[in-house]
């Protein structure tokens, strides 16, 4: 096991110096998700030197690694032991790190079936805006001692502290997986997805793309082949290819100049008929659309549907990209920011202009 490098002391020193100077910092991992979120500001704080897998015992189903560890290295060691990250994170480039993955909180196609990043996070070490080194949560699967700060930091886009080390729950890799493809338009695909999720099918992916409903089955050989036989459809040649292109956004749909929107909706919400050119993931829970419309229109639409929208890529980065929060919730967000980072040192403006 590559034990990497422990850069804690340097990072603590850098953060404390920034606090003394009231110098905002922009926390930098591999830079693979630099496009995500609002623009943010601050002097770069490079955490990629803080890397290495600290502990991994396959039979405990827990892996602990420093934030700068490459996601590819983690996935490799897990694969060597027949395990995987349950949330199938998008990398968006070879330089993706564990810290960035946790800070962005993005999960891949497996999410509805085996959980999200935050579901897998068990504990983490961080540096808060007081320049203190804190260890929150733990390295065991079950732990309810203290507030769940580790999950609070997941998806917080670095705004509450520098993530130094993360412990995550990992899962056994399914014995087999099989991908099926059926011709369908978006409404038909959504109906299929809904029906399948009401029954205990061995699923690990439900998506729509390019006139096809895609489904992935996972489990024991017998279970997968029995289900495949009953469900029908054809088996595309490159089985994993589609799911990889979906999660890494390499499908043709994701190209082009128009702003790309991510709408996270209750999965059974009807098809958004204004956008037939769409990609649907998470069994209907995630709708990707391309749209030049003013942001407010999409925020309203998502809110009325019981979900939220985010301008994921492109568009005017000076405008807030995340769904606005109701005023009392925003005020609470500001108080929480204050509780962790009173001088607003970390990733100022990245999550929200006010944070």
């Amino acid at each position: 096991m590559d034990h990497g490098n422990d850069d804690t002391e340097n990072l603590l020193t850098a953060v404390r110096a920034a606090i003394a100077l009231r110098q905002p910092l922009s926390i930098q991992g591999g830079g693979s998700k630099g496009f995500y979120g609002n623009a943010g500001s601050g002097a770069p704080l490079d955490v990629t030197g803080h890397r290495g897998i600290v502990a991994y015992e396959p039979t405990e189903l827990v892996l602990t690694a420093r934030a700068g560890t490459r996601l590819t290295a983690i996935e490799q060691i897990l694969a060597d032991h027949g395990q995987m990250l349950s949330f199938e994170p998008p990398h968006f480039g070879p330089s993706a790190t564990l810290g960035g993955t946790v800070a962005c909180g993005l999960s891949g196609p497996r999410r509805p079936f085996s959980g999200s990043v935050r579901d897998a996070v068990l504990g983490l070490k961080l540096i808060n805006g007081h320049g203190e080194l804190l260890h929150m949560g733990g390295q065991v699967i079950k732990n309810v001692a203290g507030f769940d700060v580790a999950r609070l930091l997941t998806g917080a886009l670095g705004s509450l502290g520098v993530i130094l080390e993360v412990s995550i729950k990992v899962l056994p890799r399914p014995e087999t997986e099989a991908t099926l493809r059926l011709a369908a338009d978006p409404p038909a695909a959504l109906r299929h997805m809904q029906a399948l999720q009401r029954l205990p099918w061995p699923l690990s992916g439900l998506a729509y793309q390019g006139g096809h409903f895609w489904l992935r089955l996972a489990g024991a050989e017998q279970a997968v082949s029995a289900a495949a036989k009953r469900l029908g459809g054809d088996c595309p040649e490159d089985q994993e290819g589609f799911w990889n292109s979906l999660k890494e956004q390499r499908l043709a749909f994701f190209g082009g100049q128009e702003p790309l929107w991510r709408l996270s909706l209750p999965p059974a919400h009807p098809h958004l008929s204004a956008w037939d050119d769409t990609v649907i993931d998470w069994g209907g829970g995630l709708r990707w659309i391309k749209c030049p419309d003013p942001a407010d229109q999409l925020f309203n639409l998502a809110r009325q549907a019981g979900g939220h929208a985010c301008r994921f890529r492109g568009g005017n980065r000076a405008e807030p990209c995340f769904q606005p929060l109701p005023p009392p919730l925003l005020a609470l967000h500001q108080r929480l920011k204050q509780a962790f980072d009173p001088l607003r040192i970390f990733n100022r403006g990245r999550l929200r202009p006010e944070i």
Binding site: E60, P112, L133, K142, V144, A220, A268, P326
Partner: protein, 498 residues
Amino acid sequence: MPYRVHSSEQIRHRVDKAYFVRLLSEHLKPDELLSAEEDVKPYECDGLSSHRARPWLVALPESIDQLRAVLGLCQTHNVPVVARGAGTGLSGGALPIDNGVLLCLSKFRRIIEIDPANRLVRVEPGVRNSAVSEAVRRYGLYYAPDPSSQIACTIGGNVAENSGGVHCLKYGLTVHNVAAAKLLTLDGELLELGSDAWDASGYDLLALVCGSEGLLGILVEVTLRLLPLPETAHTLLAGFDSVGQAGRAVADIIGAGLLPAGLEMMDNPAIRAAEQFVHAGYPSEAAALILCELDGNLAQVEADRERAHRILEDCGASTLRIATDPAERMRMWAGRKAAFPAVGRLSPDYYCMDGTIPRQRLAEVLGGIAEAGQRYGLAIANVFHAGDGNLHPLILYDANRSGELEKAEALGAEILELCVTVGGTITGEHGVGSEKIDQMCVQFSDAELNQFHRLKRAFDPAGLLNPGKAIPSLHRCAEFGAMHVRGGRLPHPELERF
């Protein structure tokens, strides 16, 4: 034993009780407000009966407007508030405060909406855990977290404690099965956390509220995620001649890539107690027993069952049985599910611990527990959520024998500290409450505790919600630490010791 909040954690006020009753009476009907000694007595404790305090007042509102009014008055007059669901908590989280209002959510028992298409159900916080699965069964759905107390405990309590059950290795704790919640803050703001989608905008406040033990706000509505009922479930029962063998079997099952719905272990005292109580057919001579449940679709379960069977055999199981029909399965589980009351029959009182450890340290920790038990002269039975390393040592004692409760508590504290030393935690699913608040000083540093306090103040600036629970004051820790070591290190190592 009467329990008092540490002086540094007390909220002081001089509000006259009769006066406050008059103020509250404007919003609550007479039967919704209890103040007489004999009326409030039943609320003296939760499931941790060794900690008791007489509540000042007990409020049983039935509407959000009433709740808001009660919280508003408490805020104005600086009166502390403790929320209570069914009072089955095992860590004193719902222990009342002698100058505070105990806010019972038991009248909030409506199932508001079942949404089978999105596999969600929206409920009030006083709905019982098992009532949820009963209500959605006709849609072929169920709610996965199943604490053994499920026929009594409430969803509000489950969220506040982030409760688990015997199926959480595969299906997760409460936090993994909640989509949204409405939280009423002291200043009357109703915050909507989470959403009906798979995630929500902003900080993950829903995760933060799970396990927050009533310190951040009052949960007034919860949306739970449902799962399709599994097609089938099979259970294997294996007896072993040593705890070490059983521990290895658990590691091998997981190492082989199986993810059982439940993977439970009991030691010999627990096996005997359960067998005498419910006659589940357990091998009374075995040193350890494993229950391994596999669920899902039939083809999957049959494949997994064969692999699990082979592993249990290879690890030297001295007894090995399989239950494939529901009645036989229920019988196998009956012993495990009744383990606490079964042990309760052996002894006038028992004290249930809840530490979690890395599983590889199991044999060592069980050895340490047995040794400590002998030192204190108290018997211990162990029930163990083996799949996720969550131990429930049950310490047997007799509260009527002078000094025995104190001995049991001291032994319990030692066990928890042993869990922290091996890299685990003081509580896997029962919460900190009043019970383990001193051990929080062992698990967390002052800086970490301070961060928790600042976080709490973002929700509850005056600190009126459940003071003296879950997060200790630094004064308490300083007092506790004066007699204690943290993680093998003495506090203030710079000081000379003799």
